[in-house]
Structures are given as C-alpha cells and as structure tokens.
C-alpha cells in the first residue's frame, strides 16, 4: 500500500505593464502593480484564504494523520508581505502545525540554470534565507520551477546540500516502470529523486472539472481507491495550489473533495507523507536517467512552454546576458528588478504554439497576444540595458 505525498505549488509573478518604446530611458518601473495586486487579492479570496482555512482545520482535527507540502515562490511571499500579510500568516500557522512541509526553489521562480550556475545558486540561497526568516524552516528537498528536472541540475542541487529533488514522471523516461518509487539520478552521490505521478496528479488538477471525463464528478472515495491501488511506495500528487478555488471554481465541489480526501484515504489505509519523510523512509528503487530537460508543463513535459519560439529564446538569453553588468553595480534594487524579469511566467506569456496548451497559456496571460508580451518585455529590457550602461559597451 503506497503512501500519498501531496504537494501544492503557490506562485504569483510580477507581471509587466504595457511598457512602450517611449518609456525606455524614462520609466524605471516595469511592473503592473495594480494588476498584480488585484490578482493577488482575487486569488487570495478564491484560493489561498479558504484553502488554507480548510487545511488548517484538517491539520487540527487529524493531527499526525494529515500531511501536506507546499513550495511558495519568493516573489509570491514578497507579494504577500506587501499586500496580504493575513494570507502569509495563515501559511505560517499551517507550517507551525508540524503537519506541513516546505520545499525550496529559486526565489524568483526562474528558469536559469545552464546560463549561470552562480545565479541559480544565489536565488536558492535567497529563498532559503526567506523561508528561514518567515517560517523558521530549512527545507531538505528541492523543486525547480515548474518541476524542471534533468541529471545535470540534480547533481548541482545535491551540491547545494539537498537530500531530495522532485521531478515529473515522464512516461518515456520511466519506460514502463512505476513513478511511485524513489529514484536516483546517475550522476549524484546520494540525493533521491521523487517523481510526480502524472495521471493521478492531472486527475485532480485538470480532469476534475471536466464534465466530459468518464469519472466526473470525482469523489474522494474513488480517488482514495485509485491511490491505494497505484502500487509502489509513495504516490507523488503535485499540482498548483491555485487549482483549488481559482482554476477550478468552488461551485465544482473542489473544496468538498479535498475536505473529504483524508478520511477517504484513511478508510483505504493510505497514509499521508511528505517528500522529506518519504526520502527518509524509502530506499532508491532504480536509476532515473533524465539526460534531457523535463518539466510538468504542457503536454510535452519539456521546456517548450518557455522556449519554443525565437521570442522566448531571445528574451531569456538577453536578460541573462545582463548578469555581469547588473551585478557590477552592486545595487540591490537593480539586482532585484533584473532578477524578477527571470521569472518563468514572462516567457510563458510569449508562447505561440497554439492548440490546447496554447489555450492554457492564453488563459494565464494578461496581454492581448504573445507578441505584446514579448514587446513589453523587450522594451523594459532595453531600459534596463540603458540603466546598467550595457548599451555603452
């Protein structure tokens, strides 16, 4: 009988405003503060507040039987500190129960790794400091933005001192093996890799609200049964926190589902766990050789959500190319501003592949088109170039 590791990702980017050519050299503020604040308030009301309240109740009543894991991006925590200290406090209360584990990630929910290991490590350290300051915890398990995972990054993350890392259970890399056991990258010493069970995660993240799905509406009892019969040691169900109440509205019974799940699991004899507990408890069952970059995004489970067209590639390469120039200024504000432009969402909005994946990208984008997203970003980038003096080189 496997255990269930339930992990939610909470994140909000700092979306850019329609930054035009005429703003270059004139306006040093790139973000749409009003929009970002409005969205934070909206999602707080639809998801963070009611969902945190629900899980707090469960933690209080179920005690040790209830286990939950979050990763909260640094830029999200920053927004909460500014605009919704009440939401931040509710996360702090949850962590204080002892039933809730926090994972580490890059502070800026960034994509950078290959371009600069130094920058990646800096953002990890910044996130560790933030989690220590706000929650008094030091996570042992790491997850990279949108569950990006591959051998090289696994080895690097181990060097940074982590005992475990999460990744997407990509079918062709599993090649028929179960995602519900712990694996190890071929190039690490001892760090364990825990994979996301793709079908069971997508059942609750996407199909849950689809009336044409044969199992609609999904009940906690049926889902608990599926977990119980999934085999292996631990089932990784990883999804965006905003799925609860925001992406899937409360009218779809999403809160009732999560409220009922722990009892249903208990009835089936499925224990709840967290990544760090699972890593301590279970042995490595085999090697997971991700020599290509994988993620949990889109149907392709690769980097194409942020890197499939020339605009995304150029925008990302150009922002990272400013690293030296920005850092040479030793100006924390400037560094922070540049770092926030590394957040993956900016590139996500520039996606042009269309199809069902494209519809999801469009749903999240605050811009009329991917081209607008790119133009605003590049104009802001140009201003940054001017400010750091890159343009004089």
């Amino acid at each position: 009988m496997p255990e269930l590791a339930l992990y939610f990702q909470a994140h909000q980017p700092n979306r850019l405003k329609p930054y035009t050519f005429f703003d270059i050299g004139r306006d040093p503020f790139y973000e749409d503060d009003e929009l970002n604040r409005d969205i934070l308030h909206r999602v707080s009301d639809s998801c963070y507040i009611p969902a945190n309240r629900l899980f707090m109740e469960l933690a209080d009543t179920l005690g040790d039987d209830f286990k939950l894991t979050y990763s909260l991006s640094g830029v999200f925590l920053e927004q909460l500190e500014h605009h919704r200290p009440d939401v931040l406090a509710s996360f702090q209360d949850l962590v204080a129960t002892g039933s809730v584990e926090l994972l580490c990630e890059t502070y800026y929910h960034a994509l950078s790794f290959r371009a600069s290991g130094e920058e990646f490590a800096r953002q990890v350290v910044k996130q560790q400091e933030t989690l220590d300051r706000l929650f008094g915890v030091k996570p042992k398990v790491f997850r990279h933005t949108e569950l990006i995972y591959f051998n090289e990054i696994a080895a690097f993350v181990e060097e940074l001192g982590f005992e475990g890392m999460l990744g997407e259970g990509v079918p062709h890399l599993l090649n028929g093996r179960s995602p519900n056991v712990l694996y190890q990258a071929p190039n690490v010493k001892s760090m364990k890799t825990m994979l996301r069970n793709n079908p069971l995660s997508d059942d609750v993240a996407f199909r849950f609200a689809d009336p044409s799905w044969e199992d609609y509406p999904l009940t906690p009892e049926r889902y608990a049964k599926w977990i119980a019969h999934a085999g292996g040691d631990v089932v990784g169900v990883f999804l965006d926190y905003e799925t609860i109440g925001e992406h899937i509205g409360c009218d779809k019974g999403v809160f009732d589902f999560w409220r009922g799940l722990p009892a249903a699991l208990k009835k089936e004899g499925v224990a709840m766990t967290t990544p760090s507990e699972a890593i301590g408890e279970f042995k490595v069952a085999g090697e997971y050789d991700a020599h290509e970059v994988t993620s949990w995004a889109d149907s392709t489970k690769d980097l194409s959500a942020w890197k499939s067209n020339a605009m995304q590639a150029e925008a990302k390469a150009k922002i990272l190319s400013l690293e030296k120039a920005v850092k040479s200024h030793q100006n924390p504000e400037l560094l922070h501003q540049w770092s926030k432009m590394q957040t993956s969402d900016h590139y996500y909005y520039m996606f042009t592949k269309g199809g069902p994946d494209g519809a999801v990208h469009d749903h999240f984008s605050p811009y009329p088109s991917p081209y607008d997203a790119y133009l605003y970003f590049m104009n802001a980038l140009s201003d940054l170039q001017v400010r750091v003096g890159e343009s004089f080189d």
Binding site: F21, F22, I24, N309, A310, T352, Y371, Y374, S391, F392
Partner: protein, 448 residues
C-alpha cells in the same frame, strides 16, 4: 462695377468636381492629407466642389465646397427629384430622377472577392435597374474600408453620379480607385472630361501580380480617362507599363508638403535612433528595414531602430526580429497618433523608407523638415524630389545599411545630407502642385 468684375472672374473659373474618399479630420491617412493639400491649393485657381463619403461639418476648407454623403438623406434625394431645383454649393445638391444602382457591378464585386476572376466594368453605364442610393452606408462614422468596401464604392458612385448630373461643372477629377467608378459614370452620363489622380495603385499594395476588381476599376478608368495624373513619374511608368495606359495622357504632378513645426527632443537613451514610419505591409518594406537594422547593428550596437505603424505583417516581423537577435534594438510601437510620430521625428537621427513600391512618400519630406536625412528606396516617387538623398534599390540591404551607418557616424555627412535635402524640397509645395494641375487642365483638356 466691382460686383460685375467679380462675377466675370467667377464665371471664367474652371468648375472642378473633385471626388475623394479619405479626408481629414475623419481619416488622416496619406490619401486624405494629400486630398486636403491639393484641394486647399486648387481652391485659389478654380471653382472647386469636393464630394466625399463623409465630412465633418465643423471642418471648413476656405473656398472649397465640401459635400459629405453622410449629411445627405434619402428624403433629400426624393425632395430634390420633385423640385428639380439647382441649389448653390452651400445647400444640398440636386439628384437626377434616373437614380440607378450598380446592380451588376455590385454582384460582380461580391463574386470577385471569392474568385479573383477577371471582370470588365462597362465603360458606359455600369448602372442598370432601380434601387435606393445606399446612403446609409456613410451615415455612421465607421470605417470606409473593410469587408464591404466594394459595396461602399458602388454606393458612392451611384450617389455621386446622381448628384453630378444636375450640376454645372467642366471637369471631374477623381482621387484613387475608390472614386474612379464614380468618375467613369459621370463621364459616361455627362460627357465631361475625366481626370484621374493616382496616389496609389493595386500594383503598389499587392504587387505586380495583383488582379481583381480593384485592378479592373483602375485599368478601365485610366483607359476611359482624358488625363491621368500620377503623383510621380515612378507611378506614371507603372500606369503606362503595367496597366498599358497611353503614355501621352499621363502627366505626373509631385505632391506638396505642408510646412510642419519641427522641433528637437533629447533622446532618453544614449543610442542613435533610426526610424521607419508606415504600415507594416509588404509594400512598405518593413522586412527590409529589419534586415538593414541587423546589418547596421553588426558593426555598431549603438543604434536603436523603431518601426512605427501596424499592419498584417507585424507579428511575423516581430518574431523574425527575435530570430535575428535584434529584439533589444528594434522596437515596434504599433499605430501612433500624430503627436507621437512627431515626438519620434524630433528624436530620430535618420529616417529610412525602404518601400518596395512607393508612389510618393510624403513622410520622407516631413523627416527632412525635422532635419533628419532620409535614406529612401529608388522605387519611390519622393526620390524624384529628394534627388540628393541617399538611396538604394529596396532589396539592396547592404547599400541601405552603409548609407545609414555613414549618416550615423559622420556628423558632417549628416549635416550635408540635411542641407541638400532641404534645398531639394523647397519647391515641393501644394501651391506648385496645384499650378501644375491647372496648367495640365489647360494644355491637355483646353480648360481655363
């Protein structure tokens, strides 16, 4: 005595019925600006009535009788039929009782959109049957183009032809294809000479292979015309060479340029600025501008390029710019109002117009007034005016880039280029253009 003298001058003036489509302040495109410039200057020489689909009654042009179909109504038309009364230009115009629609042409227009087949417009009467005037099409302030532009063109022709039959005039002078149908019909009904003013052809917009309803109107109208006035010799050669119009009746008249209040603004960034102004369509050569930018940037990163305008090629061009890795130096502004355009001109160092086919290219003259040298394509009319400007074939990216690089880095060359171009455009006024049109009325049509 004084009154008698005035009267004699009045009756000696050639009476011109001008037909236009775009007109400020409602539409400020290139055609509208040119029609206003020409109309204003012509008013000093002739008795001018200008019929447009839409006018703004608060916008008055001295000595020009502006008639907007949007201010006429069906009841006005029938009332006039009953009274059969000639009214002065200040009042609503007379409509002939024989009000007939372009049924055939209208049907063909619809057919044309789906089939791109060849059609021939009757040289005499495209009007058969009996229908209303279609005036409703111009009553609101919506676009004059769009999907039903053909229907609008037909409705305009129908209404204007009816208006013209009851009027006293010596010549009908039509600006571009949207009004050519009306011009042809008026000539067929009244026998008055037809002058076509060619600001742009489907050749320019759609390339040499463009065929269809618009091409047919242009070709048939130019064949029927007594005088064809393209805005440049460049366009004249397209009228004669591409459309097969007899060269003897083609006489180019260059556009004028209104004097603009030029000013300089300091750029908020250290790089030089090179400007492209225009629709992002194949005709304007924005893709070549991008290639030129990439070429210049290879040697000199200290430049920013701006594409100001929008069009059907915009998305493709944005993505191509990213592919060419120039996205942080090539900026797209989308459509800009006049103040923003002037702001760009006030900051720019070089203006680049790599048009694939540009009948005139007024923006290059405006740039010169802002003390910016223009690097222009040889396939433009303005190259005949700015004879000292640096130019190249539109496809010659290397040479265009070399011109721009030189002007950006050599201050003396920059100053010389501005001075030479300012000299070139001194005579480029609407007054001169109007004088030449009046002279052509006389020499080619025997009027005045």
């Amino acid at each position: 005595m004084g009154i008698a003298l005035c009267w004699s001058i009045y009756i000696m003036q050639t009476k011109v019925l001008m037909l236009g489509w775009e007109f400020p302040p409602l539409i400020n495109g290139g055609l509208g600006v040119a029609c206003l410039g020409m109309g204003r200057a012509m008013a000093g020489h002739v008795d001018l009535t200008f019929i447009l689909p839409q006018t703004d009654p608060t916008f008055v042009v001295e000595q020009v009788n502006l008639i907007g179909l949007n201010h006429l109504s069906e009841s006005d038309f029938s009332a006039m039929q009953r009274t059969d009364e000639i009214r002065s230009f200040a009042e609503v115009e007379l409509i002939d009782a024989d009000l007939q629609p372009y049924v055939e042409a209208e049907l063909k227009a619809r057919e044309e959109i789906t089939t791109f087949g060849e059609t021939t417009i009757s040289h005499h009467r495209a009007i058969e049957g009996r229908e209303d005037t279609g005036l409703a099409m111009f009553s609101n302030s919506g676009s004059l183009y769009g999907e039903d532009v053909n229907a609008r063109v037909v409705a305009y022709a129908r209404a204007v032809a009816a208006l013209a039959e009851g009027r006293d005039f010596d010549v009908v002078h039509a600006h571009d294809w949207m009004t050519f149908l009306a011009g042809m019909e008026i000539k067929a009904r009244t026998g008055k000479p037809l002058v076509l003013h060619v600001h742009s052809l489907s050749y320019d917009r759609g390339g040499p292979d463009a065929r269809g309803w618009i091409y047919d109107i242009e070709k048939n109208a130019m064949e029927a015309a007594d005088l064809v006035i393209p805005v440049s010799n460049y366009t004249g050669t397209i009228c004669s060479g591409h459309y097969g119009i007899h060269a003897a009746k083609i006489h180019a008249v260059h556009n004028g340029a209104e004097e603009v209040k030029a000013f300089r603004e300091k750029k908020p960034f250290p790089e030089k600025l090179v400007l492209f102004l225009g629709r992002v369509t194949g005709q304007k050569g924005p893709r070549f501008f991008l290639e030129i930018a990439a070429q210049v940037l290879k040697k000199n990163r200290n430049v920013r390029f701006v594409v100001a305008g929008t069009g059907e090629r915009l998305k493709e061009l944005i993505e191509y710019g990213a592919f060419r890795d120039v996205g942080d130096r090539l900026h797209f502004t989308g459509f800009l109002d006049r103040d923003k355009v002037n702001s760009l001109l006030s900051m720019a160092d070089v203006y680049c117009m790599p048009s694939v086919s540009e009948p005139f290219g007024l923006s290059a003259l405006e740039a010169v007034q802002f003390n910016i040298p223009a690097v222009i394509s040889k396939q433009s009319g303005v190259a005949e005016v700015l004879v000292h400007a640096r130019m190249a074939d539109y496809w010659d990216v290397e040479l265009m880039a070399a011109h721009i690089s030189e002007l950006l880095t050599d201050e003396e060359a920059h100053a010389d280029a501005v001075a030479a171009s300012k000299e070139d455009q001194i005579n480029c006024t609407w007054d001169k253009a109007a004088e030449r049109v009046v002279a052509l009325y006389k020499s080619e049509l025997g009027l005045g």
